[in-house]
Symmetry: C2
């Protein structure tokens, strides 16, 4: 079996064990057993528990970003793009709950170097969402336009809301990806939509 | 000086050091020095670095929940309650950036026991926000009412958005508490407001 295939099998096993047991409690013995290989082979290919975990974070982060990007067609109107992106995000985190646990819980709860890995992914998603909101504002072509700093804040709010809902959907089996996406879309778009049209909330 | 006062001074110093250096890098020497006491006295009063950190999490969590509750008057309309609560939240996290770092970053990134401490606080805030959204839906007395599970999802979205914006405001000095609150209020209320009136986003 080619090394690259073996490595992916080891990482599949590692994501499952890290996601379910947590980084600290996960044992290399269990990962090797689940992958159906010897422990020395895991160390030979992936060096250490730290490096294996880092490789898992990078793979899962890349897969999540790719899923969201692929879910969105740049030719659609902004609200459809947001809906497609949110649907892709929640479907991906629902299909890969261990991958999401690695990214959102484990990578952020086991020290700064792992947290920095996942922070890079978050920046990429934020940049993507920021462009989407700014495009939506341009489509609505109101004057004055939504200021850049408010767009940045709205992107932060949207990403934080999505993270929170993904955790919720993954801990409550009765919540589907579509439902989480619809809840956030209603929350976010009706809000953003009003903003784009210049309807602000005032005390 | 009474023991209770001394303990608060030690915890003030500990929150600053834990928040700025991180849990692992924080040293009990530095905490004792900043508090102006001997290291043995810190151990005598607060037992260990783990217990000192746990005491800091509990104190900061209680202070944050109290600030939000005190900021909200139950006699106001729901949108004003949300505005007051968000303003109190962002003012509190801006005034106590080290406390927020302890709660949102350090307590969640250094192992499950500390993460569990802060999860309890998050549940309390979620319950508070859930009641607020449900009340708002009753005020709007639409029929059919907003289903409970959608209210739960909206509360998750709102709390996640607030956490994300508090991090953003605390890392960008140009973003004020009022601005963060206004950004989220516009995002959330215009959205929630539309939902209350039965205006949903549909693909």
């Amino acid at each position: 079996m080619p090394r690259a295939v073996r490595e992916q099998q080891m990482m599949d096993a590692a994501v499952r064990i890290f996601g379910q047991r947590g980084y600290r409690a996960a044992s290399m013995d269990e990962i090797a057993e689940l992958a159906g290989v010897s422990k020395p082979l895991v160390y030979l290919y992936l060096n250490s528990k730290e490096q294996l975990f880092t490789a898992c974070i990078r793979r899962e982060a890349a897969a999540l970003v790719a899923a969201v990007r692929e879910g969105v067609s740049a030719t659609e109107p902004a609200d459809r793009q947001l809906w497609s992106g949110l649907t892709a995000f929640f479907e991906h985190t629902a299909e890969r709950p261990d991958g999401w646990a690695v990214l959102h819980a484990q990578a952020r709860t086991n020290g700064a170097p792992f947290a920095a890995e996942v922070a890079g992914m978050r920046e990429e998603i934020l940049a993507f969402v920021t462009v989407l909101i700014a495009e939506a504002a341009r489509e609505a072509h109101r004057n004055p336009a939504l200021p850049d700093r408010e767009v940045a804040g709205l992107a932060q709010a949207l990403v934080g809301a999505a993270e929170s809902l993904a955790d919720w959907a993954n801990t409550d089996a009765s919540v589907s990806a579509k439902e989480a996406a619809a809840t956030l879309m209603n929350f976010a778009w009706a809000g953003l939509g009003d903003l784009m049209e210049g309807r602000r909330w005032t005390p």
